[in-house]
């Protein structure tokens, strides 16, 4: 455990010693702010329209109309920022030779991979914490339900975990962090749009494509539902990606 924390700590320090952490967090803050303001205006308009309807005032739900779509929009931010977090993790160590230090230290491959994943997760949480401020305003001026907000964050954490573990795996395959970043972005995008075809596909294919889409599984979390189906998907996705990373690092040893 100490070994994992030592690696995670080093990773985190590396993010903040380089511009990566500031770019990721800054970029996320700007985009999230933009989404928030837009959705807020939209919500304000809809609630005014609902308040002046022919049939008297209608109830509008801030969770359904503002917070839930907001969470879904965060997926867009992750698409761009998370490759930045993972692209250097292994590629850079391999290029600079520091991987030799890690692999000749009394650490297991699982500890190294877990440590790196954890480091990325902590930075990701720091990035998400920016959004707490915006939601804080909603809680200050309105009274949204807090449970769907919590499940929404849980969903975002799990979805980010999927992206991070996948990015870690891709980074472990190359020495070049630009290639790692580009491929990670492309693969994220693929997992994002994979169910666009679902509407035209047959019933079986449709179910498969929808199941594979990382973002599809976020919908229920954003609505306040914790479905084991989605939990299993996310957790097994993360575990499998990390497992692949361990195997990739190990096979590199044999190939030299």
């Amino acid at each position: 455990m100490n070994n994992i924390l030592a690696i995670a700590h080093k990773e985190l320090k590396g993010y903040f010693a380089s511009p990566v952490a500031y770019i990721v967090i800054g970029f996320a803050a700007i985009l999230f702010g933009w989404f928030f303001v837009n959705l807020l205006y939209f919500f304000e308009q809809s609630s005014m329209q609902a308040g002046s309807g022919f049939n008297g005032p209608q109830a509008v739900n801030v969770n359904e109309m503002l917070i839930s779509p907001l969470f879904l929009n965060v997926a867009v931010i992750l698409l761009f920022t998370l490759p930045l977090i993972t692209m250097r993790t292994y590629a850079e160590e391999k290029r600079s030779g520091t991987i030799e230090l890690l692999l000749t230290s009394p650490l297991t491959d699982v500890q190294i991979v877990t440590g790196k994943f954890l480091g990325g997760m902590v930075l990701y949480m720091a990035m998400l914490s920016v959004t707490v401020v915006h939601l804080g305003f909603l809680f200050f001026f309105g009274n949204p339900e807090w449970r769907p907000v919590l499940t929404g964050y849980l969903g975002l954490l799990l979805m980010g975990g999927c992206f991070l573990s996948l990015g870690l795996f891709i980074s472990s395959l190359t020495k070049n962090q630009i290639i790692a970043g580009m491929v990670t972005f492309a693969v994220f995008l693929l997992f994002w749009v994979i169910n666009w075809f679902a509407t035209f596909a047959g019933p079986t294919m449709q179910a498969v494509l929808n199941y594979l889409s990382i973002t599809e599984h976020l919908n229920d979390f954003a609505r306040g539902v914790i479905d084991t189906k989605h939990l299993v998907y996310y957790v097994s996705f993360i575990a499998f990606s990390l497992f692949l990373t361990v195997r990739a690092v190990d096979s590199e040893r044999w190939r030299g």
Binding site: K10, A17, E100, L101, P106, L107, R253, G256
Partner: protein, 334 residues
């Protein structure tokens, strides 16, 4: 302390290391000598557990690196060819991180880092980022990293590469001091350095062990004959037949002719001192004996000879030729 048994490492179709075996006794400093691409780094990478062997095994401090990697790695310090530094970290932070992953208890980390920085003389750069260090400092921080957890075994891949003459001799001294408490394998392609630092030398070429011995034994073993350098003022006479007639002299070859001043290289049987006979033959005929000295075979010549013996008829190519650079040339490259 270190035992390498029938170690073979293949990368796909190419065999980098082919059936190498040797032992290193506790406290010994072993030099690992060979041209670039001979398999030095590969062998070291197997011993440190960075990569598994294709065949055979390596045992470090009683632990097989393949079956008990964690135990073996705990007892090994390794300086790779390029010091494994994180550019964004300060020297102190970097060493603290290494201490953590090497399993140094939290309480001792600070003092261990301090000691290691002191021993390798990098303490004045403690708060400098690793990316801002000169080559020499990087190399020494790499060495500090290897020493940090006070390992029983130290594997140093070209520890003096990139250092200037003074740092180089300091590092050699440090390594000599480490011997005794630590078992050290160091690789180099600078032969004089190995002969100064190491008690025993393993010479490898093309993935095979060519010779294992002390530097002194290697020298005498390979000298099938003694060579003498002579400079004679001949005053116009023909000296060569006279010298050749002296019993024990095997061949005489003039190496340099400047008018009457002729230099000779004289090969004689081993164990037979022909200096007196040579001197009296020359002086007795009224010629001038200007210089006479024995030519010792340097490790470099031995090395080249061993490699050529390995493959009769071939001249060591570019790779091997790089190794016969003299220390002076080596310094000039940097």
């Amino acid at each position: 302390m270190i035992e390498v048994q029938h170690l073979t490492k293949r990368y796909g179709p190419t065999t980098a290391v082919n059936d190498i075996s040797f032992r290193v006794e506790p406290g010994e400093i072993l030099g690992f000598l060979g041209p670039n691409g001979a398999g030095k780094t590969t062998t070291m990478r197997v011993i440190t557990g960075y990569m598994p062997p294709s065949e055979g095994n390596a045992i470090v401090a009683g632990y097989d690196v393949s079956s008990h990697p964690i135990e073996a790695k705990r007892r090994t310090g390794y300086l790779p060819e390029t010091p494994p530094l994180y550019p964004d970290m300060t020297v102190r932070d970097y060493l603290a991180f290494v201490a953590a992953i090497k399993g140094v208890p939290r309480r001792e980390r600070k003092s261990r880092v301090q000691t290691a920085m002191g021993r390798t003389a990098v303490a004045d750069m403690a708060d400098r980022h690793c990316s801002k260090l000169s080559k020499g400092y990087k190399q020494r921080v790499g060495l500090a990293q290897a020493l940090l957890h006070n390992p029983e075994v130290l594997i140093l891949d070209e520890p003096t590469a990139g250092l200037d003459v003074k740092q180089r001799s300091e590092t050699r001294q440090l390594i000599k001091d480490l011997g005794g408490d630590h078992t050290v394998i160091l690789s180099s392609h600078i032969l004089s350095e190995v002969s100064q630092t190491c008690q025993r030398v393993v010479i490898i070429n093309k993935g095979r062990v060519v010779a294992v011995d002390t530097p002194d034994n290697l020298t005498s073993r390979l000298r099938g004959e003694e060579t003498m350098f002579l400079q004679v003022d001949t005053r116009g006479a023909d000296v060569k037949p006279v010298l050749e007639a002296i019993p024990g002299v095997m061949h005489v070859s003039p190496s340099d002719v400047q008018g009457d001043l002729i230099s000779f290289e004289i090969g004689s049987e081993t164990g037979r001192d022909v200096r007196r006979e040579l001197a009296s033959a020359i002086v007795g005929r009224g010629w001038g004996l200007l210089e006479m000295r024995p030519l010792r075979m340097s490790l470099e010549q031995i090395f080249l000879e061993l490699i050529e013996k390995e493959e009769p008829g071939t001249i060591p190519d570019g790779e091997a030729a790089a190794t016969d650079a003299t220390p002076a040339e080596e310094t000039a490259h940097e």
